[in-house]
Symmetry: C2
Subunit: 300 residues, 2 copies
């Protein structure tokens, strides 16, 4: 199964990075793009992101072998219904959403006669929009594919090969397990970061100006992911509610334990906990999932 | 008041960075170093960090105009008592601890006949030890000085000038207010990061290997500060307990509000919150307190 024509629907950070990566690594593949926003389409045309930018979603996917939906997860079903009239019978429809069980069900309900294979490239930055994307975004990152049990092996292999060509390593996983794993490694961290940045900016005793000035003490690290796209993240929390709330419950338990250790002055408990967490970062660096340079390689 | 001889007690990340920065920017100042660990002293000698490394703390501070204690805040009083016999009558004793009211009181109790002016350079990386330091660590960062109300102006000016020469911008602040500000911008972020990294590594449903593999979804950002020195941070939480617990209470309130919004499916509340936090990062970048490059400038 060869992918010769690709359609990307949604041309923000991820969609525009796919278009750029395909141009760089699969120059033989024709890429058509679409975005619901006329402003974004104009920007994509000016950036030369795709071979063609279509104003109409059904027009965008005509003849496409692979259609990738790169819109907020709450907008997937509407986007799928809008493009359905143009879809080739044997096209593969995939997506890049950060939650998979609900998105897969929504896409299959919207496109009952088509093959849907959900996917999630675990990559991104805090920036949004077509200008924020870049071709190397997926290099060395993981892409998780969550096919239904009856998905044709050749179509799964084609989608897997596509992501590998863009530089990703592909894992296949059950959608429900994906949602639990990502609740831990992505959704809870975002929720915590959004919370603490909000907390810090609304204290009476400490001004926002002080929070900004002295943010190099640790706070600034949290502001990066708390600067991520608000609509995308609203949708992720609504779509993956149960796994997020379950994980949050575990976080709250642990926070209460450490809170009590501080209140009681139990230094041994704190030190033991802090020693254990240090090892995790070493493993992440050893696995190539973060920069070994101190301070993320920030310039000093 | 001229600082011609400096003693640095504690040669980890911060102490060794001070020694390096003085060598680079104040070549006329003689620097003597000491560390309670013989291994660290040997490493400091091999690195050529100071003009002289003294085995004995009292010997290290002899003739020093300025003595800077760069040890975990729980060890400040003992370190001060150990060096007291060698201290010149008119020496300024300062420190770099991340909590100031308790440390200031402990140092003044240990050195009742000497001038103590606490200070806190808001800078660091997740690495520890004499090899982790570098001369430019304080450039463009803030250093907060918390003199007592009756501290001699010329001594405060000398300490301020010293930190400015090392590249920092100096603010003067009441010690109690410092502790509240830093509880928000540094201590709470570290506590939250330590918590979530511990939570993620102990779930039954998601393996540690999965957490590491998919950490680029946001989790890896937290692992950096959760890799900070365990003893240093144990001491910070014990020393600044009240401000940390008060700030944590506010964080918990906000987290409960967002948790409820997720449970109820209140997308408007989530989106409004996430939009507000995005603005804070822009301000931090505008003030030069973080790298404007996406993803902290990590290599892609």
């Amino acid at each position: 199964m060869a992918i010769e024509r690709l359609a990307v629907v949604g041309l923000g950070l991820i969609g525009s990075s796919i278009a750029r990566a395909v141009k760089a690594r699969l120059p033989g593949v024709a890429v058509t793009g679409h975005d619901a926003s006329a402003l974004v389409r104009d920007e994509a045309r000016a950036l030369g992101l795709c071979d063609r930018i279509a104003d109409d979603p059904a027009d965008a996917v005509e003849d496409a072998d692979l259609v990738i939906l790169a819109v907020p997860v709450g907008g997937m079903a509407d986007a799928a219904r809008a493009l359905a009239p143009g879809l080739k019978a044997d096209a593969i429809v995939s997506d890049v959403g950060s939650s998979k069980a609900g998105v897969g069900a929504a896409l299959r309900a919207a496109l009952p006669d088509h093959l849907v294979i959900p996917a999630h490239p675990v990559a991104g930055t805090e920036n949004s929009g077509p200008a924020a994307g870049f071709a190397s975004l997926f290099e060395g990152r993981w892409c998780i594919v969550t096919p239904a049990a009856d998905a044709p092996a050749d179509a799964v292999a084609a989608l897997t090969g596509f992501w590998q060509t863009l530089g990703a390593t592909v894992d296949t996983m059950d959608a429900a397990h994906h949602d639990l794993v990502l609740a831990v490694t992505s959704h809870l961290p975002h929720l915590i970061a959004y919370t603490i940045v909000g907390t810090a900016s609304e204290l009476e005793e400490v001004t926002e100006s002080e929070v900004i000035k002295y943010s190099a003490g640790g706070f600034r690290d949290f502001t990066r992911i708390a600067a991520s796209d608000p609509v995308m993240w609203r949708d992720v929390f609504l779509a993956n509610r149960d796994a997020v709330l379950a994980t949050l419950q575990r976080f709250n338990e642990d926070l209460t334990v450490l809170q009590q250790a501080i209140r009681r002055g139990d230094g041994d408990k704190l030190e033991a906990w802090f020693t254990r967490t240090r090892a995790i970062r070493r493993s992440i660096i050893a696995e190539g999932q973060d920069d070994p340079a101190p301070d993320f390689g920030r310039k000093h």
